[in-house]
Symmetry: C2
């Protein structure tokens, strides 16, 4: 059986859990508490030298890291991954945008606000920068979502799954989606997909 090393509160992990639920894939979930350093132990670093979750372990023991690479692997040959070359590249464009321009701002702001009390001056200054860059990323999403229902090829793909993960909890990082109506309408469309599951168990 597939094994997923994950941290429940991780949006990156949620991407993989959501796709696996929608694909109907069974998997064993192994919780690693990043706040307790459980992804930095010698044992875990042998599985992923980069010390991060989510990490997917295949049945032969091979480990695959990086949430968006795991999404691509699992989605290949399914309706969640475009069959056409340019659309695949466009989906990848959004996946790289998510990891470079979106997640480091929205997810990191959320993590700090949820898990740290008062921020030190460096983090406080960085938080303001992340606020600016995070809103810029939401602005980049608002444009295309005002014109089409999903990011690529008119249908729900892993590009939507990847961007949904931290956008739907943007408020937990102090982001207000009020000025992004197309993003909010898209969040509803993603939530309405068959076999959708929430980030954390109710």
């Amino acid at each position: 059986m597939l094994r997923l090393y994950d941290y429940s509160d991780s949006g990156n992990g949620y991407k993989v859990r959501l796709l696996m639920a929608q694909l109907g894939l069974d998997f064993e979930l192994i919780e690693k508490d990043i706040l307790r350093g459980e992804t930095r132990t010698g044992e875990f670093l042998r599985l992923n030298p980069n010390g991060r979750v989510p990490l997917l372990q295949l049945e032969d023991g091979t480990c695959l890291a990086e949430s968006n690479a795991i999404l691509c692997y699992l989605a290949e040959g399914t309706p969640y991954w475009p069959a056409e070359r340019l659309q695949r590249a466009q989906a990848l464009q959004w996946l790289f945008f998510e990891q470079y321009s979106h997640e480091p701002n929205l997810a990191t702001a959320r993590f700090w606000l949820r898990h740290f009390g008062a921020l030190d001056p460096l983090r406080q200054a960085l938080l303001e920068q992340k606020r600016t860059l995070g809103y810029a990323a939401l602005g980049v999403m608002e444009g295309p979502l005002g014109k089409r229902p999903f990011f690529v090829g008119g249908r729900y793909t892993i590009a939507d799954i990847a961007l949904y993960a931290y956008t739907h909890v943007a408020d937990q990082g102090g982001f207000d989606l009020g000025a992004y109506p197309a993003v909010r309408a898209w969040l509803e469309r993603v939530r309405a997909q068959p076999r959708h599951v929430p980030m954390l168990p109710a």
Copy 2:
């Protein structure tokens, strides 16, 4: 003809230029000086709302952003992109690692040191953090490169191209590769590939 909007000193742009040289693809190069804000003009933002280079414009006018997505698009069906599903996922794992754990540290440190004089206190504190994280990323690369010639499937792929771009100029960001002999040997192997071109014209 393919058109590449790029900034000569960008390692992200170099990835695309290197692959296109190795594939023997002709393209029109349009220089955009990011230091003069040329990627933030209204005209350019219509091509890429995220305001970044490299940007590949296809013959039908479609624009594709994100250096690593462009690499995947161009490499499909060529020896630079693995034909096997797990190897493709492993290549993507390294591409996402590059954009999340490597480039934001090595490339940003290099950019600041090359283009700014004295760093303000926030940037100085961040530079120290980037130093730590950048060396950690080099450590993650050192492990597998000590055991195999290239990152994926025993052959040179776009995973190598993506990671070569900012690793081979790591010294310009103040990184010393002395403690990473496997990385240094791999840089030589990449440089020895057929039709290799340097980052900047001699």
